[in-house]
């Protein structure tokens, strides 16, 4: 009864779409990396770096949109580091990714503390305000849910369309998908597997960082250490859930955010019966369940996790 009521509430769906935004960016970013054959476990740290970078930019007088660009740039730099290690040197993608996460998280925290040594309560910035899209925003219910959101959320929707178009409709997207399926095919056609993978990991990491920046610049207005809180790992599960398809990634992120928003509402209403910690576990439990359900049919990129070495067969 209550849940049905909740699902009909516009405010619930507005919250869902808002909460889905970082997941959409993160999942798309990871999807691009994996489509090119590189697992990027740096995502958790790169999102944290994006959080930090975007917020700092604005706090020290930068403009919000250039803050997003700056976060993306920082993300791309960590992506470059990851690709140097995994693509060019062929190191273990698992261990390198964890190393990148450790490095990015530690650096973010260190720099935050260094820039603001004496701050006891996290200082605030003026975040993105929701923007109403003319005409579309006036559609009842749907307009409020989809077209009266933070501009970064709208950017996320555009990113889904953009990534899908890129993967399926452009020559560069074809080359990227081929690199994840059979790098030899790409190399034998005169394209550089190293270059494609490097660019893919950089672009994917930039998207992840934008997802992180959304947290400090739109969803909240301050930076907390540890605020990404496993969202990156959830995105990795969502990529499997989406079978490496951008459309399904969007669907998965929204579905996931809906569960998350629901547990928050239910938690407020009935916190006496079940302790709130169990509600907070739900996102992680759902991620594991999603992995289990999709395990049988997921058609992962064939060259995922396999380093490419020139001239080797």
């Amino acid at each position: 009864m209550d849940i049905l009521h909740l699902l009909l509430e516009t405010g619930f769906w507005v919250a869902t779409v808002r909460m889905a935004t970082p997941l959409i960016f993160g999942t798309l970013g990871e999807l691009i990396c994996e489509r090119a054959g590189v697992l990027n476990l740096g995502i958790e740290g790169i999102m944290a770096a994006g959080c930090m970078a975007g917020w700092t930019w604005v706090y020290f007088g930068g403009d919000l949109w250039t803050g997003i660009v700056f976060a993306a740039f920082i993300g791309a730099m960590f992506g470059l580091l990851h690709s140097l290690f995994t693509v060019h040197l062929g190191l273990s993608q698992h261990v390198t990714g964890l190393g990148i996460t450790m490095l990015a998280s530690a650096l973010s925290s260190f720099i935050f503390r260094m820039l603001l040594p004496s701050a006891t309560t996290p200082p605030k910035i003026v975040p993105f305000a929701p923007v109403k899209i003319p005409v579309l925003g006036d559609i009842p219910v749907l307009g409020e849910i989809l077209f009266y959101q933070s501009p970064v959320t709208l950017l996320a929707f555009l990113a889904v369309i953009g990534v899908a178009w890129f993967l399926y409709k452009t020559p560069a997207g074809l080359a990227l998908c081929m690199t994840g399926e059979n790098p030899m095919a790409v190399e034998s056609q005169g394209l550089s597997v190293f270059a494609i993978r490097t660019l893919a990991v950089m672009a994917g990491s930039a998207l992840m960082a934008i997802g992180g920046a959304f947290l400090t610049m739109s969803a909240f207005d301050a930076y907390y250490i540890g605020m990404v809180n496993g969202r990156g790992w959830i995105c990795i599960a969502l990529v499997v859930f989406s079978s490496w398809k951008p459309g399904k990634a969007l669907l998965g992120a929204v579905l996931f955010a809906a569960f998350d928003a629901m547990q928050m509402r239910v938690q407020q209403q009935a916190s006496m019966v079940v302790p709130y910690q169990f509600y907070l576990m739900m996102p992680y439990v759902f991620s594991i369940l999603a992995l289990i359900i999709m395990s049988r049919r997921s058609a992962y990129p064939k060259a995922l996790l396999i380093p490419f070495r020139k001239g080797e067969r």
Binding site: L41, F85, H88, L89, G90, L91, S92, H94, V95, T96, L98, G99, I100, M102, L103, S105, A106, L107, S109, F110, R113, M114, P117, N229, G230, W233, I234, I236, A237, V240, P275, Q277, F278, L280, M281, Y284, V285, S287, I288, L291, I292, S295, R296, R309, K310, G311
Partner: protein, 349 residues
């Protein structure tokens, strides 16, 4: 740029790996320290003083080494079999939970019986926690990296509930912590008036045992074979799935022991800050040691020095102590590269 395999790898090359990694970490941190406006030489001096400069410092460093030996061994064993156990943090808390449950009054035996029982129970809890992701990996090919990572969050929330809810100690003046373990469950100090406890000896024995198993037994041989080449191991009739499950139980068990040792040796009661990420640092410890069980002892010591020394140094110089985390991460990445360079040489065309 191309990588060319080296024909033979000298011992000197191997020895250079951790040294090189430490140097790179030092260099990166110096840059950060200069940026923060302090002198790196002064920082280094303070760092050394803070980690090994006094009896107290040494005892603190060794105390910090203990959990890292356990989690480092956990990662080393699992990674040998290419089982990517990133869940040592959760397994550590699982071990500590069971020990708390048993050790805070449920049973009270003499110490020589109580402690082995708690360690065994903690090991079982840690092992069982890793069993789930391992089964999913074996049967459904679900990536264990993500499942073990996510389990860490679930376990921590569970502990959060325990210490805020049913296990909250009414005598703790409102702090979220469980009741202290009974006296017979306390690991005695190794040196009087320090926090260094018998866990160190247990950790060293564990490292020795793991090394002996990996080197001299058919179990260790199977783990190495499965890790190096799963397909060939299946072909020659090694029971791959049960080897991986066995590895998972050993690895999770070692991580569980870390929790018991911290609980019974250092804290005395279960809290949410029992482990400041020992599970994750364990991965770095294992990689620094090139997955060698005896090497784990030394790399655990190194990582412990990093965090204790950086703590004390950052307090004196007013630099954030997150610099220890940066150093840890940098040394992990550096060791990966230097390990590669022992096996390959880089040719620029």
């Amino acid at each position: 740029m191309r990588l060319e395999p080296r024909e033979n790898i000298s011992l000197l090359h191997r020895a250079m790996v951790p040294v090189g990694a430490a140097l790179v970490a030092l260099l990166v941190c110096s840059v950060l320290i200069v940026w923060a406006g302090a002198s790196p030489f002064e920082a280094l001096l303070l760092f050394i003083k803070g980690s090994v400069g006094s009896k107290f410092a040494v005892s603190e460093t060794l105390t910090r080494t203990i959990p890292l030996i356990f989690t480092g061994l956990a990662a080393a064993v699992a990674f040998r079999a290419k089982l990517w156990n990133i869940g040592a943090e959760g397994q550590l808390y699982a071990g500590a939970c069971i020990a708390t449950w048993l050790g805070t009054g449920l049973i009270d035996l003499p110490g020589w019986l109580m402690l082995p029982l708690l360690f065994a129970a903690g090991a079982v809890a840690g092992g069982l926690l890793l069993l789930g992701p391992t089964m999913l990996k074996n049967w459904l090919a679900v990536d264990e990296v993500v499942t073990t990572l996510l389990l860490n969050f679930i376990v921590l929330l569970f502990v959060n509930w325990l210490v805020f809810g049913p296990w909250k100690d009414p005598m703790a003046m409102g702090w979220p912590q469980a009741a202290p373990v009974v006296d017979s469950a306390i690991l005695e100090p190794l040196i009087a008036k320090t926090r260094l406890h018998w866990g160190l000896v247990i950790g060293l024995v564990a490292a020795l045992c793991v090394w002996l198993v990996m080197r001299y037994t058919t179990w260790g041989y199977e783990i190495r074979a499965v890790g190096c080449n799963r397909k060939a191991s299946t072909f020659v009739g090694i029971p791959v799935n049960s080897v991986i499950i066995r590895t998972a139980l050993i690895s999770g068990g070692l991580a569980g022991c870390a929790g018991v040792s911290e609980l019974c040796g250092l804290k005395g009661y279960l809290t949410l800050d029992l482990s400041p990420g020992f599970g994750y640092s364990g991965i770095v410890v294992a990689m620094l040691a090139a997955l060698h069980p005896i090497g784990v002892v030394f790399s655990a010591l190194f990582i412990a020095m990093l965090s204790i020394g950086a703590d004390s140094m950052s307090r004196s110089l007013n630099i954030s102590n997150y610099i220890a985390d940066v150093a840890t991460a940098v040394s992990l990445l550096a060791v990966l590269v230097s390990m590669l360079l022992t096996r390959y040489r880089i040719r620029w065309r």
